[in-house]
């Protein structure tokens, strides 16, 4: 791309300046959180912020010992977010393909209805879902959380995947059908491999949404299914907030999602563009 060369020097300095400010604005809080998690109690809340200090692992050690052991929380989070995202991806991919190929009238209405199910305010859907789940014995269980996360992941997955499928040239499918493939075979062997980036994008976004969820986990979770964001909330106690431990837990919650996000960033960009350009 040759346009860069034509950017005048002054403008280039301006651009670099904006980028630098943007990066500072973005990264300082995260770096500060990570840094604070290695500080001793006194250093974390020092009136004059300390950049240099004696690092300690005590905050992390305390998170994994005693009454507060974080181990099970991490496991619950992984299970609930992981299974829910996989399910959302499978059901969403199949339904998304159906949506993108169907010729029925009112298709747009169906598409809009699907995404509109994600718009309901959390605080009010929680009570009816709670009653529904209690009847099914799903409260305080991983399957319960999985289903709860599906309420927001499934519409998102259907919507996004349908957009990706619309991008696949219809001619490819037609020729597969002409060659004697069944509809399913055409979908499985021809279309699906072409939407790999879409699959990855959808999965990761679902994973991020459910991993980070607080409102649903608070209501549907319990001693056997407590997740990480709830554990963070538990550190807000009546006598004060243990910021050392809290920044440590923040780092633990954030790190895996960042790594997952960064690992698939390449697909994320193409994925979202495709999804974006085709709208619903």
């Amino acid at each position: 791309m040759s346009h860069v060369d034509r950017t005048p020097g002054r403008a280039r300095v301006g651009i670099l300046l904006i980028v630098a400010i943007g990066l500072l604005w973005t990264l300082v809080p995260l770096l500060w959180m990570a840094l604070s998690s290695f500080k001793s109690a006194g250093d974390v809340t020092a009136a004059e912020p300390k950049l240099f200090f004696e690092p300690t692992l005590r905050n992390y050690q305390r998170l994994f010992s005693g009454a507060n052991n974080l181990g099970p929380y991490i496991w619950h989070s992984m299970l609930a977010a992981g299974i829910s995202s996989v399910l959302a991806l499978i059901v969403g991919t199949i339904a998304g393909y159906g949506l993108s190929t169907t010729r029925m009238r009112g298709k747009k209405h169906v598409a809009f209805w699907i995404i509109s199910t994600r718009m309901a305010p959390i605080a009010v859907v929680v009570l009816p879902l709670f009653l529904l789940f209690r009847g099914a014995g799903l409260i305080d269980s991983i399957p319960g959380l999985v289903l709860a996360y599906l309420t927001f992941n499934l519409p998102f997955a259907i919507w996004l995947m349908s957009a990706f499928f619309t991008e696949v040239p219809a001619a490819l499918q037609e020729s597969a059908l002409v060659e004697g493939c069944t509809r399913w075979q055409a979908f499985w062997h021809v279309v699906l491999p072409l939407t790999k980036s879409g699959l990855v994008t959808t999965f990761v976004l679902c994973l991020v949404f459910s991993w980070n969820d607080y409102a649903f986990a608070l209501v549907f979770g319990g001693p056997n299914s407590q997740t990480l964001p709830i554990a963070a909330d538990q550190l807000v106690t009546q006598t004060g907030i243990d910021w050392g431990q809290l920044t440590a837990i923040g780092t633990i919650v954030v790190l895996p999602m960042m790594l997952a996000g960064l690992a698939v960033r390449r697909w994320l960009v193409t994925g979202l563009t495709l999804g974006a350009v085709t709208g619903e």
Partner: protein, 307 residues
């Protein structure tokens, strides 16, 4: 609610001969997802509608006693709620507006930047992956008047007030936290749109003697407006219903300065257990969100960006 759409039924293109089986196949593919979604959404929706006309008892099994229009009458005479809607609209406009603006500016800068674009983008995307609860708690940590890094920095340049203690500063702070978390999403989408603008379009503009500003205004922006609209749609859906950041930081204070409708809704439902009224507030929120989303989708459709 989707029946209000006034687009004429679409005229389908000529169909291949295998029409019947295709319809069946597609519908069959859609069915599991739709059924699951219907169970997870229609049952709750009907319950919420019923709730908004009832007094809800919790103890000894949930029970609904008819309350007629009590809650709806209260809804339309509630001055506090009206104020909270105004605040919500300001919050919505500020966060989504600034996120769009900053996200676009940053995307343009990155687009002009050849070297290191990917590395910088990766770093810039990080806040998107942070749980909103953590964003709120982190915000509280950074703005604490005793040991907060940002309070300290502001103190160096002469600002002595307590950030979450002042009405305007607290509002600005929660807006800033939301912007911090979600601007990257806009940047990501906008940049993706920008990279797909054909080089020939830009060349043509340059040959016509357009200056960079004119090129941006008349060539580049129009060609990514569809993408930007979708970004707007994605953000709007969540901007109205998310409340984690405010709940963790100010919880509506000081002097109600940050009490937006979702906070009021949460409080009505789960602090006061005034569930009938909460249902009424929630239904209005849902209607507003759908109206906004409809409007954006409508624009998209007029632009011919959906298929």
């Amino acid at each position: 609610m989707t029946t209000t759409l006034e687009t004429p039924p679409r005229t389908d293109p000529p169909r291949p001969t295998r029409r019947r089986p295709r319809l069946g196949f597609s519908a069959g593919m859609m069915a599991p997802g739709i059924v699951l979604l219907a169970i997870l959404s229609i049952v709750p929706l009907l319950t919420i509608i019923a709730m908004s006309f009832s007094r809800v008892r919790l103890l000894g099994g949930v029970g609904f006693d008819g309350a007629g229009l009590t809650y709806w009458v209260r809804l339309f005479t509630d001055i506090d709620l009206a104020m909270q809607w105004v605040r919500t609209i300001v919050f919505f406009a500020l966060t989504v507006g600034l996120e769009m603006l900053l996200g676009l500016i940053f995307a343009l800068c990155l687009w002009k930047l050849m070297r290191g674009r990917n590395a910088i983008l990766s770093l810039f995307l990080l806040p998107m992956f942070v749980a909103p609860v953590i964003v709120g708690l982190l915000g509280r940590f950074l703005t604490d008047s005793t040991f907060g890094l940002y309070s300290w920095l502001l103190g160096l340049i002469g600002y002595q007030g307590d950030i979450l203690g002042g009405q305007y500063s607290a509002f600005a702070a929660v807006v800033a936290m939301d912007i911090w978390e979600w601007t990257p999403l806009i940047t990501l989408i906008a940049l993706a749109g920008l990279t797909s603008v054909p080089a020939s379009v830009r060349e043509a503009a340059a040959i016509d003697g357009a200056n960079p500003w004119q090129t941006l205004r008349h060539v580049i922006l129009p060609s990514i407006s569809g993408v930007l609209l979708v970004a707007l749609l994605i953000r709007s859906m969540d901007a109205i219903r998310y409340f984690d950041i405010i709940a963790v930081t100010t919880n509506g204070g000081p002097a109600d300065a940050t009490k937006v409708v979702p906070i009021r809704l949460y409080e009505t439902a789960f602090r006061f257990f005034d569930l009938g009224y909460a249902a009424a507030i929630g239904l209005v929120m849902l209607a507003v969100t759908i109206a906004i989303a409809r409007a954006f989708v409508g624009v998209l459709e007029r632009k011919g960006l959906t298929r």
